[in-house]
């Protein structure tokens, strides 16, 4: 890099070391408004026997000299006009003191920054890092190369002059998180990341857990030329809630307890014993512990309670058994569980395939259990495959890494003391901690990092942080994100829509970026309320309603659910909750 950048004109003069050891300050008139916060600058020094360009990031800019306040007394008269009256050249008047956080010189061999720990001396010239140098040192991958993910452009260089290209390998292997307030563009950014992972250079094996059904528009990838090469085209498989199902025996005892959270101690005792029994019997007869159904479990509950009643005189499990059986039956009615069938893993996970698991219209607790079961199956399969405990053709053989993207992650791993009780949080922590060894990457997307478990967040090494206004959320990020320096986090409330801080091993240095435009349509737009309300009163809409009302027939399907009492429409308990009203003595 020697001498490569020194042809530039200096933009400022070093003043000396800053308040912190890794900081220095320089003074600049900044006539061209080039020294923005987040901008990259460098000075030259000799380190390790070579001339080095030591790069740093601007973290603060404060005025060192300003016009007197009195010059701004008239809003129509700019202060520099008054200064000019007194013979001051306005372009020379303002002076800024800029604080720079040192990154170091870029070591081509190590492909990372090395801090020489030599702050500039007073008077040393400071230069702006040229676009092409910044592109080379900031990005671990070049644009369009295999294993790259082009997510946007450096914010401080307008005109898309410096593309920000992440290492897709680091992105998926060391986990990532996208954090933003509502409306800051997190789903949009997630879409960009997904697009990059599905490009021919990556061909990812990707599963998106989509609680709001926002990612269905990604199927447009299949028809776009940007995603096609050498006969490859990504497959986008959208799995709607009615097609999501698992084998009942894939539930752990913890899952069952979680799904039936209102169990008493006796019910829990019966369930644990019966659960162990069906697994033992399955092992004895089929050679694995998962070959049983909910009926087997219910039978085991009844058998075990009978045995106990015979064993212990006076024991009466009748009410608890009834209540437990009722709960198990209700659980077995769920469309998510089937006796022996489940979505094959290789249907969900396949290289070049983006599977969108839509979980809208699904109860939050069910969503948590589905995610928990999915992550567990994936983890077990990858562990068994890597350790060569399964062979091609076996159930649970998955011979390629996989990446799972979780929307509304705070829902699956909520923070606070209750997090251990949430089944998906436990499983998520296991995958985040151990998944890297087995090629499982996780991406978390959340609009409330304050509500997200901090251990979970801190495991995500690459962070995309968009606009965050809530101070609790900001503090959570500051404490959980190790690689993000505090100064760059100060920018969070000031970011506009589509602007993000990217930090972590997928990029050589933290950077403020403008997210690139999506190639596929965005599915997460907010609904335009006023527009739709006005449309309600459009003549054609009113006419349509009049026609509808003209054909109204009392007693037809839609109105059956309601009956009127005293002029008010009310619904029965059964209609609301889909079950009979509970009665006393159910063993609680």
């Amino acid at each position: 890099m020697e001498g490569r950048m020194s042809k530039e004109q200096p933009i400022g003069t070093a003043k000396g070391p800053g308040e912190k050891p890794q900081e220095y300050t320089f003074l600049t008139p900044d006539r061209d408004n080039a020294v923005k916060v987040g901008e990259f600058v460098y000075y030259q020094t000799v380190a390790d026997g070579e001339r080095r360009d030591v790069i740093g990031r601007v973290v603060q800019r404060r005025p060192a000299r300003l016009f007197p306040d009195e010059f701004s007394a008239d809003p129509q008269i700019p202060p520099y006009a008054v200064a000019e009256l007194l013979g001051c050249d306005s372009t020379e008047a303002e002076l800024f003191e800029v604080t720079v956080s040192l990154l170091g010189y870029f070591d081509e061999r190590l492909k990372s920054f090395v801090n020489p720990r030599i702050p500039p001396r007073q008077g040393w010239p400071v230069y702006l890092v040229p676009d092409e140098v910044l592109t080379r040192v900031l990005n671990p991958s070049s644009l369009g190369s295999p294993g790259s993910a082009h997510v946007g452009y450096l914010l401080s260089r307008p005109g898309h002059r410096v593309p920000v290209v992440l290492s897709a390998r680091e992105l998926v292997s060391t986990h990532m998180a996208i954090i933003a307030s509502t409306g800051a563009g997190k789903s949009y950014l997630a879409g960009v990341v997904i697009e990059e992972l599905m490009k021919p250079g990556n061909r990812a094996c990707l599963l998106i857990v989509d609680p709001h059904g926002e990612y269905g528009t990604l199927d447009a990838m299949q028809g776009l030329a940007e995603f096609a090469a050498d006969g490859y085209r990504p497959t986008v498989k959208v799995i709607t809630p009615d097609r999501v199902y698992f084998r009942f025996s894939s539930l752990t005892l913890g899952d069952l307890r979680y799904l039936m959270s209102d169990m008493g101690e006796r019910m829990d005792y019966l369930l644990s014993a019966a659960y162990r029994r069906v697994r033992q019997e399955s092992q004895a007869t089929h050679g694995d512990t998962d070959h049983w159904t909910v009926e087997d479990l219910m039978n085991a509950v009844q058998a075990f309670s009978r045995e106990k009643e015979e064993e212990v005189r006076g024991a009466d499990f009748a009410s608890s058994v009834q209540a437990l059986l009722w709960r198990l039956e209700r659980l077995s009615d769920s469309s998510f569980f089937k006796p022996y069938e489940e979505i094959p893993l290789d249907e969900l996970f396949r290289p070049g395939q983006c599977t969108v698991l839509q979980l809208n219209e699904t109860e939050p607790r069910d969503q948590q259990v589905i995610v928990s079961v999915l992550l567990r199956r994936l983890y077990d399969a990858r562990m068994a495959t890597v350790r060569q405990k399964v062979e091609p053709g076996d159930d649970g053989y998955l011979p390629y890494p996989a990446f799972v993207l979780l929307e509304e992650a705070h829902h699956f791993a909520p923070g606070g003391e209750g997090t251990e009780r949430v089944v998906s949080a436990r499983q998520l922590k296991t995958v985040l901690a151990e998944g890297r060894k087995f090629g499982i990457g996780v991406g978390l997307i959340s609009q409330r990092p304050g509500k997200l478990d901090q251990d979970v967040l801190s495991q995500c090494m690459t962070q995309f942080i968009l606009r965050i206004v809530n101070p609790i959320d900001q503090n959570t990020i500051a404490s959980a994100v190790e690689s993000a320096s505090k100064d760059i986090l100060m920018e969070l409330p000031a970011l506009s829509r589509g602007q993000a801080v990217v930090t972590g091993p997928a990029l050589n240095a933290p950077a403020l970026i403008q997210v690139r435009p999506r190639l596929t349509p965005h599915g997460g737009e907010s609904i335009d309320g006023p527009k739709e309300w006005v449309a309600y009163f459009a003549p054609e809409a009113e006419e349509a309603r009049r026609r509808e009302e003209a054909y109204y027939q009392p007693g037809r399907a839609a109105s059956k659910r309601f009956h009127t009492l005293g002029g008010r429409s009310i619904r029965s308990y059964e209609e609301i909750f889909g079950e009979e009203e509970p009665r006393e003595g159910d063993g609680r």
């Binding site: 009195e70 007394a73 008239d74 000019e84 009256l85 007194l86 013979g87």
Partner: protein, 197 residues
């Protein structure tokens, strides 16, 4: 108009000018011609360069005042008994030099600031014409009073009023820049009237 002559200086930019008395010149200056805050030009040698200054102080000199000794004749009888007696009273003004002019007429170039050369004792002092006043304060971007901070720093209790009057005159001369000049005038007013209290 010819106002007087330089009689001494207190510094490179602070001259004392004696105003011509009636009888010394055919058309002696009236008091309003050398009023407080008036701009003047002072000849420099025999060349075309002239210093430009502003009258910031006036002193009335009367050597007879304080001479309380016996006198043979009273004031009315002096003409008869001592015809060579000339009254030595005079008016002197302080002129702060704020710039200089190089050349004359349309080709003259005006500079604000401290002139590199000084005038001399006996140099003639004239009123600065209205057009010259305008050109002296005219710059490419509008009016300019670069000498103002130096004037404001002079130890003279009447200086705030002088500067106020000067800026008011500039506002009349440059009505298009009245807003900018008013900000400066208000600022000076505030500082002189309130900030010093």
């Amino acid at each position: 108009m010819l106002l007087g002559r330089v009689v001494k200086s207190n510094s490179h930019v602070d001259y004392v000018v004696q105003i011509f008395a009636p009888g010394e010149v055919p058309d002696p200056p009236r008091p309003e011609d050398h009023a407080f805050g008036s701009f003047v030009r002072v000849a420099v040698g025999q060349g075309e360069d002239q210093l430009i200054g502003v009258i910031y102080d006036t002193l009335l000199l009367n050597p007879s005042y304080g001479t309380l000794g016996p006198r043979l004749s009273g004031e009315p009888h002096l003409t008869a008994f001592a015809p060579d007696y000339v009254p030595e009273t005079s008016t002197v003004v302080g002129v702060a030099v704020v710039g200089w002019r190089h050349g004359q007429g349309e080709g003259a170039v005006y500079h604000q600031g401290v002139p590199p050369v000084a005038s001399r004792v006996g140099a003639e002092v004239f009123s600065l014409e209205e057009e010259a006043f305008r050109r002296f304060h005219q710059s490419a971007g509008g009016p300019r009073v670069a000498y103002l901070p130096r004037l404001a720093a002079m130890a003279n209790p009447a200086m705030p009023e002088l500067l106020n009057g000067l800026l008011s005159r500039l506002i009349e001369t440059f009505p298009g820049d009245a807003g900018t000049l008013s900000v400066l005038r208000s600022n000076l007013d505030w500082n002189s009237r309130l900030a010093r209290k």
